[in-house]
């Protein structure tokens, strides 16, 4: 989901670092190195760290994600709106999918099936739509509990 936010906003990486400097998040995310270290606990990444995140670290990442989604809500809404012209919407989705694929190829382990699914044209687009929808409903402080519960869903 964090990668999707970076794909939506060209300055998403820097915005993430800037947002993590807020008092509520600065204790767990004091600088970009600590943010990167927490994100590296994702086993789908090329270089991942062992171990699990502490609850406070997970909470900080979830809050950061919800705040970033809140900031990018107008873009999320435009992508999800049915009143947008279909051709323009298709172009937006294609551009977003291309950006996300570049980020995934750069940072994720291509041997993992989850990563390969993200890079497939049709399955990847379906998954991207789910991610954008999830970000829209998790945006803002009201979405933190919803997103946290979703991240703890049972394995399918």
């Amino acid at each position: 989901m964090l990668l999707t936010l970076e794909a939506l906003d060209l300055n998403g990486g820097e915005a993430m670092v800037w947002m993590s400097a807020q008092p509520a998040l600065a204790e767990r995310l004091p600088n970009r190195v600590e943010l990167w270290k927490l994100r590296c606990h994702n086993p789908l990444r090329r270089a991942c760290r062992r171990g699990t995140l502490a609850p406070a670290d997970s909470d900080a990442l979830i809050r950061l994600l919800c705040q970033m989604a809140d900031r990018l809500y107008p873009m999320l809404r435009t992508l999800l709106s049915a009143s947008e012209p279909e051709e323009r919407k298709a172009q937006h989705w294609a551009l977003l999918q291309e950006r996300l694929s570049e980020l995934v190829r750069e940072r994720m382990n291509p041997r993992r099936s989850g990563v390969q699914r993200l890079l497939e044209p049709e399955a990847g687009l379906r998954q991207l739509r789910s991610l954008v929808q999830a970000l829209a409903f998790a945006a803002g402080p009201g979405g933190v509990e919803r997103l946290r519960a979703s991240l703890l869903d049972a394995a399918p």
């Binding site: 829209a136 009201g142 979703s150 049972a154």
Partner: protein, 207 residues
């Protein structure tokens, strides 16, 4: 003393009117008693109602949004509740509003994901507004069980590991049964000599 809380999104505006509950010692700018609310949508009839209707709206829309985050949408709102929501046709979301008047048919509103997200945001803004001191309880968001998820691994893949393990155990047991049993050896009935006495097969000393 009447206050109006207003929350705006691109497709909707929620206005809640209320008063502070002075008997409970609430601040003058607080809203402790809701006297009415309206929800105005672009291109749709305006909704209005009392506190219980607003609560019913929050109690179905917010859990529905939680399920959408997990890509596992399902209907919310029992038949006896004034509000229900569920997946509609063509990727839309159908919100049904049932009047308390006996001969009034329910109002059905089809929302796209963007409009539903706007509705969720105004409801979140309302329930998290510090000026609202009236409790509006909504169901606690909880993780979904495997059965509730719509995208699960195919049954064949889920059963592959346990079935494969059971098959491997059966094959190993069958192979073990095919192995010849070890030959039985007859025990010999030779008397055990007492301590110091010569045994039957040994010649006596001096003889």
């Amino acid at each position: 003393m009447k206050h109006t809380l207003q929350f705006d999104q691109l497709s909707c505006r929620l206005r809640v009117e209320g008063l502070p509950d002075v008997s409970a010692g609430q601040a003058a700018d607080a809203v402790g008693i809701i006297t009415g609310w309206t929800l105005a949508w672009v291109g749709r009839p305006e909704l209005e109602g009392r506190r219980e209707h607003l609560l019913a709206l929050m109690q179905v829309v917010l859990p529905y949004a939680r399920h959408l985050i997990s890509a596992a949408p399902r209907p919310f709102g029992a038949a006896d509740q004034p509000v229900a929501i569920g997946p509609g046709a063509a990727g839309l979301h159908r919100l049904e509003l049932r009047s308390s008047q006996p001969d009034t048919p329910p109002l059905q509103v089809d929302l796209d994901a963007a409009e539903l997200a706007d509705l969720v945001r105004v409801l979140d803004q309302l329930r998290l507004d510090p000026r609202l001191v009236l409790p509006l309880p909504v169901p606690v968001d909880r993780p979904l069980r495997a059965r509730e998820l719509s995208e699960r691994e195919p049954l064949q893949r889920r059963l592959a590991a346990p079935v494969g393990g059971a098959a491997a155990l059966a094959v190993a047991a069958a192979l073990a049964l095919l192995l010849p049993p070890p030959p039985l050896t007859q025990p010999t009935n030779r008397p055990v000599p007492a301590a110091g006495a010569p045994s039957a097969g040994t010649p006596a000393a001096g003889g």
